[in-house]
């Protein structure tokens, strides 16, 4: 579904677009809509009621309100468009250049933009009016200059983000000149935010302009604008409130339509679906019971006929993990291998009760240390996760909060169990020592960016050990690490497992890691386990075709001799 279709499905967006189209249409077609001239005053008609040809009646000077409204729309909207055009013409090219080329132009233009943004818009406009006289167009140009920074900063920010993208490097290597890279690659990225910003700034320009007119510093009296009409109507607000009603309504509707349009465009262009909200209210469907007639269940972790389903935007469900059986005995390491999308991480997440939004266990049974965890309440889950089952994630760096020290991230969960601050700190240092960190006090004081990836993974393993778990779920724990660091982490996992009698479920795609660490291995493909068995058997003599293709895909072994 493309952005256009998404937009059409948003009733508020469509409605506001219609309102704007009507307003713009009326402004453009003003001379066709009414014969009455906006400045033809007939004193006899002052405050006159509506009558044939004059659908909204007359104002204090006997001028046709409808005619002033539609002709006023031309000036009001025209002013906003002028301001917008100036802002766009200044802000977007400068932002592109500053973001893409950087260096001195970026420094100078950013400095100028900060200066402009520090100026109070209303006061600058009032001062300019005093200097330039009552010309609404000149004021709108100045307003455009004042609004240009909002485009500049938006565009520059996005361009700085994409400047480092590999596809821009690829375009450079492909021999494209800079202007071509900007028009072909960079403009596409900033297009959507610019459209949204346009609608927002148009609303602001409209409001500021009407405000100026209302306090009487805009155009000289003859030019009809909505702000001027409000100003005139305000003088007779007691006698004829409808004089304010019509321009107020026009202004309010247009501004509201612009804001709503901007948010509808944002939803459509940035693909923020509004669908799942209805779906969430639906009660979870049943969990299909497990078949328990096969192998006897393992004491530590036992999974039987597990199914995991995800809710689709249309409310239906799609099963991504089917009929998975898995056992981990205490003190054993079980590998779960498969390629991306095979469902291995989904299986691990359902054992931990941390399936992402929209996913749920739709069938089967999982027992951890004898407790059935499918359908477990949040509080029981928490208790289980702090004391029985622990988790080591794939990306060590993204699992540490960059704005807190390692110490506070390790100590906080320990303290939550009612331990004193000093004791918790001591315990955290002990945990770090247990994962072979030589200088625990320094690491406790460090922020995540100050330590290496391997160190971060040690910290996360230490955190996982905090509750003395008996089962460890490790999801690709070494994939993001260098091989030499991987070897150290694997050795650490092996040692912890041996010393503490941990059961480990190791999710990985690397058959070498499986060979190094695991006792048994389960091979997953397209949400099903296709083969299970002792590692030497499965890797040495695979029975299933898929396992064989995996083993065959391993590149020729390095001919290095281990002894020397």
């Amino acid at each position: 579904m493309n952005a256009w279709h998404r937009f059409l499905r948003n009733p508020l967006g469509v409605l506001s677009a219609l309102v704007l189209l009507v307003v713009i249409g009326a402004a453009l077609a003003a001379p066709l809509l009414t014969d009455a001239r906006p400045d033809a005053a007939v004193l006899r008609d002052a405050f006159g009621a509506a009558r044939d040809g004059h659908p909204l009646g007359f104002d204090s000077a006997g001028r046709d309100i409808f005619s002033r409204l539609v002709h006023g729309a031309r000036n009001t909207l025209g002013g906003a468009v002028l301001a917008l055009a100036v802002a766009v013409a200044l802000g977007i090219p400068a932002g592109l250049l500053a973001g893409y080329a950087g260096r001195w132009f970026d420094a100078v233009s950013s400095w100028l933009v900060n200066l402009v943004m520090a100026l109070p818009a209303m006061i600058v406009l009032l001062a300019s009016r005093a200097v330039l006289g009552p010309t609404v167009w000149a004021l709108m140009i100045i307003l455009g200059v004042l609004a240009a920074p909002s485009f500049f900063r938006l565009v520059r920010g996005i361009v700085v983000n994409v400047r480092g993208e590999l596809y821009l490097d690829a375009a450079r290597v492909a021999g494209l000149p800079a202007w071509r890279i900007i028009t072909r690659h960079v403009l596409v990225v900033v297009r959507a935010p610019i459209i949204i910003q346009l609608a927002l700034v148009a609303g602001v320009a409209l409001g500021l302009q009407a405000g100026l007119e209302f306090i009487g510093v805009g155009s000289s009296g003859s030019l009809p604008t909505w702000g001027a009409m409000l100003n005139e109507g305000f003088q007779y607000v007691q006698r004829a409130p409808r004089l304010m009603l019509w321009p107020g309504l026009a202004l309010g509707l247009t501004s509201a339509a612009l804001v709503l349009l901007a948010s509808a465009l944002r939803d459509a262009l940035e693909d923020r679906a509004t669908g799942p909200r209805q779906a969430r209210r639906r009660l979870p469907a049943d969990v299909r019971p497990a078949r328990l007639d096969g192998e006897p269940r393992a004491a530590l972790l036992s999974v039987r006929s597990l199914a995991v389903s995800y809710r689709l935007p249309d409310g239906s469900e799609r099963e991504v993990v089917h009929d998975v059986d898995l056992d981990v005995e205490p003190g054993r390491i079980v590998g779960l291998v498969g390629e991306s999308g095979s469902g291995k991480t989904q299986t691990a997440f359902s054992i931990l009760g941390i399936l992402p939004e929209g996913g749920r266990v739709s069938g089967g049974s999982i027992t951890v240390d004898g407790t059935e965890v499918v359908g477990l309440g949040a509080r029981d889950w928490r208790r289980l996760r702090t004391s029985v089952v622990a988790y080591v994630p794939q990306e060590p760096m993204s699992n540490l909060d960059p704005s807190f020290t390692i110490g506070s991230q390790l100590i906080e969960p320990i303290r939550a169990a009612g331990v004193s601050r000093a004791a918790a700190r001591q315990r955290a240092a002990d945990l770090l020592r247990a994962v072979e960190i030589r200088d625990p006090d320094r690491v406790l004081r460090s922020y995540p960016h100050q330590i290496s990836g391997g160190m971060a993974q040690r910290v996360l393993i230490a955190a996982a050990m905090a509750g003395d778990p008996r089962l460890l779920i490790a999801d690709e724990p070494t994939t993001a690490l260098d091989v030499t660091v991987q070897a150290e982490i694997l050795a650490l996992l092996r040692r912890l497992q041996r010393e503490r009698g941990l059961g480990v479920l190791l999710v990985t795609h690397n058959l070498g890691v499986v060979a190094d660490l695991c006792d048994t291995v389960a091979v997953m493909r397209q949400g099903r386990i296709v083969e299970t068995g002792p590692v030497a058997e499965v890797l040495g003599a695979p029975r299933h075709d898929y396992t064989r293709s995996l083993v065959d895909a391993v590149l020729d072994e390095l001919p290095l001799t281990e002894s020397r």
Binding site: Y167, D169, L176, V188, V189, T484, V554
Partner: protein, 279 residues
């Protein structure tokens, strides 16, 4: 008669500016020598932060060279004007690691592939025909050109990136970890494709990877880089079977093999030789 190699790096140094005002620059490459012969693959192995990617970027002109020289086919390319650099794209192309960010997500695949052709001044009609041919070459249907990158799997995207690199028939492609984001089976097919293309077109690769098994599989010559310096260089067979430098041996021993018995030996050797050392 001595012919000059296709690509030659002599004492190449690259600095990154330090963070903060007047901070000292960090030296990323500390005098790298490297030679890629025409039609061959030179594998470059190193861990994160070793500077292996920076070598590739220096060759491509994406980072400035502080000292030393880079020659392509005997002519210097380390300090070119942007116009001369653009002309160089005819001979020098790139395949990046991440097939997800190396293709512009907002543009159809055909546009991305035609880009280098436009860069060489081809007309849209010819370009489109050439793009269809390229897609076929890397095993994708010609209809793929009207679709967006997100409609393709990782392996397919990497094929698209390969097609882009091949578009103008370059003589050298810098491959920066081209298969490390891919699944094992996909990895194998992409490596096969690269080798096949080399056989057919005689293109040379500077193949950068952290994975010794992959580098050994595809390379004629292998160099090992650590902390911005080449520690060992030789034929693929020699470097991976009888490494001279202890760091190379350590890299080799720490990569686990998919055979439990063999891996037990390897782990024992690793622990015997490198126990207590930290990278």
């Amino acid at each position: 008669m001595t012919t000059s190699p296709l690509l030659r790096l002599d004492r190449v140094r690259v600095n990154f500016p330090g963070k903060g005002w007047r901070a000292a620059p960090t030296e990323v490459l500390k005098g790298v020598d490297l030679v890629v012969e025409a039609g061959q693959t030179h594998g470059l192995v190193g861990e994160s932060g070793s500077g292996k990617t920076t070598i590739g970027r220096a060759v491509l002109g994406l980072v400035p060279v502080a000292a030393g020289t880079i020659h392509l086919d005997g002519s210097p390319i380390h300090a070119l004007t942007s116009r001369r650099r653009r002309a160089l794209s005819r001979d020098l192309q790139v395949i990046f690691q991440d097939p997800y960010t190396s293709l512009n997500p907002a543009r159809p695949v055909g546009d991305t592939l035609a880009e280098p052709l436009y860069g060489q001044g081809q007309r849209p009609r010819e370009a489109r025909q050439r793009v269809a041919g390229l897609l076929e070459r890397v095993g994708l249907p010609a209809g793929a050109m009207d679709r967006l990158p997100r409609e393709f799997s990782g392996g397919q995207r990497q094929r698209i990136a390969i097609a882009r690199a091949l578009a103008i028939g370059p003589r050298l492609i810098v491959c920066d970890e081209p298969v490390s984001a891919l699944d094992l089976t996909t990895q194998r097919t992409v490596l096969d494709l690269l080798q096949e293309i080399q056989r057919d077109t005689g293109v040379a690769y500077l193949f950068i990877s952290h994975d010794l098994a992959v580098v050994r599989h595809i390379s004629h010559v292998v160099s090992v880089i650590r902390h911005g310096e080449i520690v060992e260089s030789g034929t693929a067979e020699q470097v991976t079977a009888e490494p001279k430098h202890p760091y190379t041996r350590r890299l080799l021993l720490s990569a686990p093999v998919a055979d439990p018995q063999r891996q037990r030996l390897r782990r024992a050797a690793y622990e015997r030789e490198f126990a207590g050392e930290r990278s």
